[in-house]
């Protein structure tokens, strides 16, 4: 038997030829083989990369509360190239979330969610949520300070859901608090449940792409009319269809390769994330920061007044997600080209700006107090010199009462409240006293926690806080 014979023996059993004709070889409109259409396939490639690196990581990772952290430390510092594996998995996840978002925006802008691809969009939304779920559970598996607090915040949100809230928390944490079994639960979710869901839904997603075809590149002034669309699309494929593989795939391959190179590059240059400090609920003076995809949520949580927070989290967010799913049913036909859909474009721009602004705020997070400023940020020397003994005591109390955790002096310290360097030009002694005793506007009232002498000393010191030659407020 020669090679060809072996090939035919397998082919007659596996029948891959017809599989090829109905899958990779399916015809796509020539103009869809465009650089705009490469993000979906690249997201899938990222997912495969995540599976491969994830399997390697699972060989070492121990999903138990006492050992998870140590096993990551082992990967970082002992296992040769273990850090690189972690870094690739980390950057892969970041890039996957980013690409998926771009893919979604592109699909929406090109009107690809409209008839007959509504279900493709809905499944895509499921995949979006599942991927975010992967990101969240993955972050928790790092099981360091950030993970611990990230989970704490996530659970706090969930606990506020009416009626089922506490039951949900119990289900996820395997108890009311983050405990020994929490991590194995997250491990199961991250390694079996969610990836399984993703694989299943990706299969459906791809089948829909094959069956309903890839969206043709939108044309200005031409909308979708469901009654005519199928015929038009068939005619288009007939006239200028090319097989996805090998003719239409070149740009996807180039782009996916570039993405992989970028991931490897980031991994090599920037390295893995954490694990930073060992989780320890008694170390309260940490400033946890979530991975980037949750920064905007983190910012929302920190910015909203507590009364509105619950409402936004428990009602507004689910409604927003529901709306995302319903987009093709709300606007399932009509214009496709972005230039014909100004409102849709405006919506995308608005949402993107909001989310990136929030994320940026999340990075700088000016509202979170600097927990060790009081003992670690020296009082600027200029504010110590030429001060009376009483004023010096005021300066001590700015530190000792942890005002510094929210208020900067000389540019150092928390940013939650205004810097106090020239507060005396704004406020009189009476106003200072009132602000300190009664608080207000996100500042706690210190009335019950300060002795009259302490207040006197604080005000005496703060009254000196003005540039030389500028009179104090009167």
């Amino acid at each position: 038997m020669d090679l060809r014979g072996i090939g035919e023996w397998f082919e007659s059993r596996l029948q891959l030829g017809s599989l090829y004709r109905t899958t990779a070889g399916h015809p796509i409109p020539r103009n869809s083989a465009s650089w705009w259409y490469v993000f979906g396939s690249a997201t899938l490639v990222c997912f495969v990369l995540q599976i491969v690196t994830g399997i390697c990581l699972a060989l070492v990772y121990v999903p138990s509360a006492d050992e998870a952290w140590t096993s990551l430390e082992f990967l970082n510092y002992q296992q040769s190239l273990g850090w690189f594996l972690r870094a690739v998995h980390f950057w892969g996840s970041n890039v996957m979330v980013a690409l998926m978002t771009v893919h979604m925006i592109q699909v929406f802008l090109m009107g690809a969610h409209k008839y007959p691809r509504e279900l493709t969009w809905v499944i895509g939304c499921v995949l979006f949520i599942a991927t975010i779920g992967m990101a969240f559970t993955g972050q928790v598996m790092r099981f360091d300070q950030d993970a611990y607090w990230g989970l704490g915040i996530g659970v706090a949100i969930m606990a506020r859901i009416p009626i089922v809230g506490t039951a949900l928390v119990d289900l996820i944490l395997a108890g009311p608090i983050i405990g020994a079994e929490t991590l194995s639960r997250f491990f199961t979710l991250h390694v079996f449940v969610v990836p399984g869901l993703i694989i299943a839904f990706v299969t459906v997603h791809l089948r829909l792409v094959l069956k309903r075809g890839i969206n043709e590149f939108p044309v200005r002034g031409k909308g979708v009319v469901p009654e005519e669309y199928d015929e038009e699309y068939a005619a288009l494929i007939e006239k200028e269809g090319i097989p996805f593989f090998p003719d239409g795939v070149d740009k996807d391959i180039v782009f996916s390769a570039a993405v992989i190179v970028a991931i490897l590059f980031c991994a090599a240059i920037f390295g893995p994330a954490g694990p930073n400090g060992e989780p320890d609920p008694t170390l309260i003076d940490t400033v946890p920061r979530p991975d980037f995809y949750f920064l905007s949520l983190f910012a929302v949580l920190a910015l909203l007044p507590p009364q509105i927070e619950t409402f936004v989290l428990v009602y507004v967010m689910p409604v927003a997600i529901l709306l995302l799913f319903l987009i093709p049913f709300i606007a399932g036909k009509g214009a496709k080209h972005p230039a014909d859909r100004p409102i849709a474009v405006l919506g995308v721009v608005l949402i993107c700006t909001t989310i990136s602004t929030l994320a940026w705020l999340g990075i700088s997070s000016p509202w979170s107090p600097h927990m060790d400023a009081w003992s670690g940020e020296p009082t600027p020397v200029a504010y110590v010199e030429e001060r009376s003994p009483l004023e010096l005591q005021g300066a001590v109390l700015i530190q000792a009462r942890q005002c510094r955790n929210c208020h900067a002096l000389g540019g150092r310290g928390g940013q939650r409240g205004p810097a106090l360097d020239d507060v005396a030009t704004r406020l009189t002694a009476d106003q200072l006293t009132r602000q300190i005793l009664q608080g207000g506007g996100n500042m706690p009232a210190y009335g019950k926690h300060l002795s009259p002498d302490e207040t006197t000393a604080l005000v005496a010191f703060l009254r000196t806080m003005r540039p030389i030659g500028v009179p104090g407020a009167r």
Binding site: A87, A268, D372, G376, P389, L390, A400
Partner: protein, 246 residues
């Protein structure tokens, strides 16, 4: 050899090299960046910068609270008192307790690291004549045969040694602010006043007890006297903040 196999070998080699080079890439976590449990830090510079610099100054001077950089102060303050102040703080003042057992965040080895580190950094025994140094606390002075502080004698000593700067009645003068303001006295311990009288605040221009010309200088007994006179300005209903050594 098949044509092209050379290229394949080169590629494979390059890939292997790249993989090996990865271990020297900047992304590789370095041992020194390894996160440490804050409770395991026993390096003096870090401990001092994180816990003490806020009030005592980044270089041990020019903070709102006591200067550490003076060799005289390092000689004046005995080890047990230093350890005790760090552990328990000075109740009623801005000096917090740092020992874990007292509600702070430092473990015992960390307190020891601070004690020995402060000495290493600032103590200069050769520059201080310990034989003429007043005892650290008033109680130590009494134990050494000196009398309790007397406000009457203290007032006279203050007029002589301090009034030039702090004003005749202590209410503030040309060079120094009020040292008898009720709010000030309500926030500091007698021990703090005693330490200031003996060691001064060289960083802020307040002389230590040896500096003035001999005719103005305080005697060891007068140190206790001046402190008791200052303390006598506390409003009667106010409990004095407890001194460090009590």
């Amino acid at each position: 050899m098949r044509p092209g196999s050379g290229a394949t070998t080169t590629l494979l080699l390059a890939a292997a090299l790249a993989l090996a080079a990865c271990d020297w890439m900047p992304g590789r976590p370095r041992e020194q960046d390894r996160p440490r449990n804050p409770r395991e830090i026993t390096d003096f510079a870090t401990l001092y910068a994180n816990n003490c610099a806020g009030c005592h100054g980044s270089e041990g001077e020019l903070g709102p609270a006591r200067e550490f950089a003076s060799p005289l102060f390092q000689a004046f303050l005995p080890d047990p008192a230093l350890r005790n102040v760090i552990r328990e703080g000075v109740p009623g003042t801005g000096m917090p307790a740092f020992a874990k057992a007292a509600g702070g965040s430092l473990m015992d080895p960390q307190v020891e690291a601070l004690v020995s580190g402060m000495r290493r950094r600032w103590a200069r025994p050769s520059r201080v004549d310990a034989s003429v140094l007043p005892p650290y606390s008033e109680a130590d002075a009494v134990a050494a045969g000196y009398a309790l502080g007397d406000p009457g004698r203290g007032r006279e000593a203050f007029q002589r040694a301090c009034a030039g700067c702090h004003g005749a009645d202590g209410n503030g003068g040309e060079e120094g602010g009020s040292v008898v303001a009720a709010a000030f006295l309500g926030l500091v311990s007698d021990q703090m006043l005693r330490t200031v009288v003996v060691c001064g605040r060289p960083d802020l221009g307040m002389p230590d007890w040896r500096e003035p010309p001999p005719e103005l200088r305080l005697s060891v007994q007068e140190v206790s006297d001046v402190v008791s006179w200052l303390a006598s300005h506390r409003p009667p209903d106010l409990e004095p903040a407890r001194g460090a050594s009590e």
